[in-house]
Amino acid sequence: MGALANLILAMAVGAALLLPMLWWPMQLGGASGQSQQVPFLGGGSQSAHAWQRFHIRYYPMTLLFIAFEMEMMFMYPWAVVYVETGIKALAEMGMFLSILGVGIVYAWREGVFRWQ
């Protein structure tokens, strides 16, 4: 019974907070007219819709970042078993890192790190 009362109380408080937020814009009257929905361009207007695709130029750098972040994730369990596995673990991680290193060199050559 106590839980139900708490629930009803929470809903009542929620409604008391939310209803004025819904009611408030209605009081402004005309605030959502067509002219108010047009973007501000200093008196100018747009002649095409704003729904468009454009290039995220940091995209290759983001991919590279995610790849190396995942590499760090692999290194945590490796660090745990490193002491008992010894030189074999070191060699395996060396191979893994050198393959990734080739990736960095390639990305560098392709100009991924040049900020556009």
Binding site: G29, S35, V38, G43
Partner: protein, 335 residues
Amino acid sequence: MAVRALAWLAERSATPVYIACGQDGDAMAARLAQVPAISLQHSIRHAAILLVAGPYRDADRPALRRLHDQLPHPRATVWWGAVPLAEAQDAVTIAQGDHPVARLRRLDRNLLRGERASEPDWLPDEPPNEWRGKGDHGQGGEGMMGGVPYGRPMAMMGEEMRDALMLDAMTITIGPFLRTLPPGLSLELTLQGDVIQQARVVTPAYPASGGASEPLLRAARMLESLGLPDLARRAQISAMRDSAEGLLAAARRCGALLALPAELADVRARLEAALRGGTAPDPGEEWLVDRLAGMEWQSALLRIASFDPATLAQIAPAAEPDEDEEDGDEKERAA
């Protein structure tokens, strides 16, 4: 209760004003920059009062109407040295020589207390373009590509200047009352992301009035674009006092000149000259629209703001209307 408390607080804060600069509007705006009770906004959506400063051209009337209707309620318009439009009822007019601060404060207070009614729209409450789509949502039947919902085309792909990626280009018109542009200048820009692909002058900037304070006002506009509003205000106040003393040193200390990259060396030279109260020579051979193609938005705004009125008049005259448009007009006349 809460609303009354907000109104009480709002009355005591600075009056948010958007200034639409007509001829000599820049100098008039500088007079307001010294007043802490007035806060000049960069977007009409942040203002309560539209202040039309100085005479405007007939060609700017539609832009003024659009600008007014974007003001949030409660709102009012003040005509400072400008003739009110026919739509403006109960217009508040102030002579160009008078100082409008007291009137603006009173008007703001009356609006907040509800003693003055908010101004109605000047344009009819209908979409700026008519509904011309085929589908239920005006999609035009070609998926995301193409179609003309609400009479405006969807953005279509175009060649990218930097890396030839085919991505959407969007065409917009900015100005003539955008505060970051010289007053009166209106440009039609085709943008891909933030890169300007193509530009066209719709209306030229207002001609120079020959005031000695012009370079400092121009410097203030550039500093504002650089994100240094306090220094910009200082430049405006210096412009009113006709003294550029210490301004260049202050700009150097803020790193305003270093903030301009090497490819904007011409802008840096013009800013330096303007902060000294002079004008850097410009060969003025290349059209403004050609200088803007391929530039990023922020750099382009800085470059436009850096030209003095005489050079701007030379390199950015109003463009000839497109041949298609002319044909259309002739057909309309024939019909």
